[in-house]
Amino acid sequence: MRGLRTRCRTGVVGPLQFEVPSGEVFAILGPSGSGKTTVLRMIVRLEDAEGEVMLDGEDLWRLQPHILRRKVALVPQEPVVFSGTVFENISYGRLLRGENMRRDEAADLLSVCGLSEDFLDETAAKLSTGEKMRVCIARALANKPVVLMLDEPTAALDPSIGAKVLHAVFTHMRQQGGAVVLVTHRVQDALSFAERALIIRNGRQIAVGNIPEILHSPEADFLKQPHA
């Protein structure tokens, strides 16, 4: 991604430049309000932006947005489920493309997200916030994206199993040859899950690289302050 830049309601974000190799978990790290969510929304064209987003040599922004979003999935911070069952939610993306999804496929994806097959027939709206988030992740995985982007997933997940679920999801993506972009404001989450990170503050790129190295750089000192 080169020269990613936008001017939106939350102010100016960018320019940003970073690369995410396949099989890697890449973190976007920064304090609340620094523009992390905007970066993800720019990539999938929910916000108007300038720049270039390349995937294996293909300029993704030349694609129609709905085609781009089948390759690059974004799971927002607030989990939103549709009316109907969990199975209907998970198979939604496939149905849009005229494909049917088998129940065992959906059950496998649920299991990656730490939910049993029994949940398939549950009414999605009746689930807890953490369960809804896991359904949202499974629903995104059902589209077989090349890049999975998660916006602060630990905020909605139960801390006791959140890490386990995320590790399972990242392993699944690695096995599929995909990459993960994880947005977080918690340094610990970045250290636990990601190899490399982009640090942003007030929409500006502060540092990009291996997490231990960039965390020790003076530019990243603000992350060590309690309010960050």
Partner: protein, 261 residues
């Protein structure tokens, strides 16, 4: 006794008695401190002036029978209807609103009116003011009211369900696919009123056209025929204008496959 084909001509005394009833209702709202008195009073005066003016205008058009003048009157009604809808949707700010309203009324109501005149009533001359103006007014005003309600609801749907719309877009839905549940909810809400009327018409209330024909001396079956035709035309105008306007508005709100609100 009033025979078939005859009707009772109302005197101004009769109008005065009806106005007294209206005034009594206004006074009652004042006594009950409902804060409706001003609006109701102004409404009564406006109705008097507007209907009298319309009466004189339609009378003039009926005497002259100039096809272009009659068609111009319909165009003016259409223009006023567009302005009324835009006025009522003043607070619903979204790109493409004017286009949605114009398309909804022009493509939704005008063809229905054309079919009504050319295919159903078939008066001679074809654009006789006696038929064109009242039927045009019914079709256009029905479409106008329904469209206002549908567009208002659609805007509220997108505002309150923004997360759900974006979730659908993020899963690879096109704008049309993401908008469909919200278009369906809005159009259904708008159409339920006319559908309820279709279910209860003749059982509970006898609508204006049939009442007018009966009091005007027409036979009951012929009056019923007129009413059936009018109900079908109103449903069509409501339906076409609502769907066209809602789809146009949704396409504008979700242009570039993102929520532009």
């Amino acid at each position: 006794m009033v025979g078939k084909g005859e009707y009772v001509v109302l005197s101004w005394d009769g109008v005065f008695v009806a106005a007294l009833m209206g005034a009594a209702a206004v006074v009652y709202t004042l006594i009950e401190r409902l804060r409706l008195g001003r609006e109701a009073g102004i409404g009564m005066v406006r109705a008097f002036v507007q209907l009298l003016a319309a009466g004189y205008a339609i009378g003039w058009l009926m005497r002259r029978q100039i096809a272009y003048a009659n068609l111009l009157a319909v165009c003016i009604m259409l223009l006023v209807a567009i302005l009324v809808v835009l006025g009522r949707l003043r607070e619903q700010r979204f790109y493409g609103k004017i286009r949605a309203v114009v398309l909804g009324l022009v493509l939704g109501a005008l063809p229905v009116l054309l079919v009504a005149i050319v295919g159903v009533v078939r008066p001679k001359p074809l654009f006789d003011a006696r038929y064109l103006i009242p039927i045009g007014s019914m079709v256009i005003s029905a479409a106008m009211n329904n469209m206002t309600q549908v567009l208002n609801r659609l805007h509220a749907e997108f505002v309150s369900n923004r997360g759900e719309v974006e979730a659908r877009l993020l899963l690879g839905a096109t704008a049309a696919q993401a908008a469909h549940p919200h278009i369906r909810a809005s159009v259904r809400a708008g159409m339920l009123r006319i559908i309820n009327v279709l279910h209860s018409v003749g059982l509970v209330h006898i609508p204006g056209v049939m009442t007018g024909q009966l009091t005007g001396g027409m036979g009951a079956i012929h009056a019923a025929q007129y009413q059936i035709v009018i109900m079908y035309l109103l449903m069509s105008a409501n339906c076409f204008s609502a769907i066209i306007a809602a789809k146009s508005a949704a396409a504008a709100i979700l242009s570039n496959e993102r929520v532009n609100l």
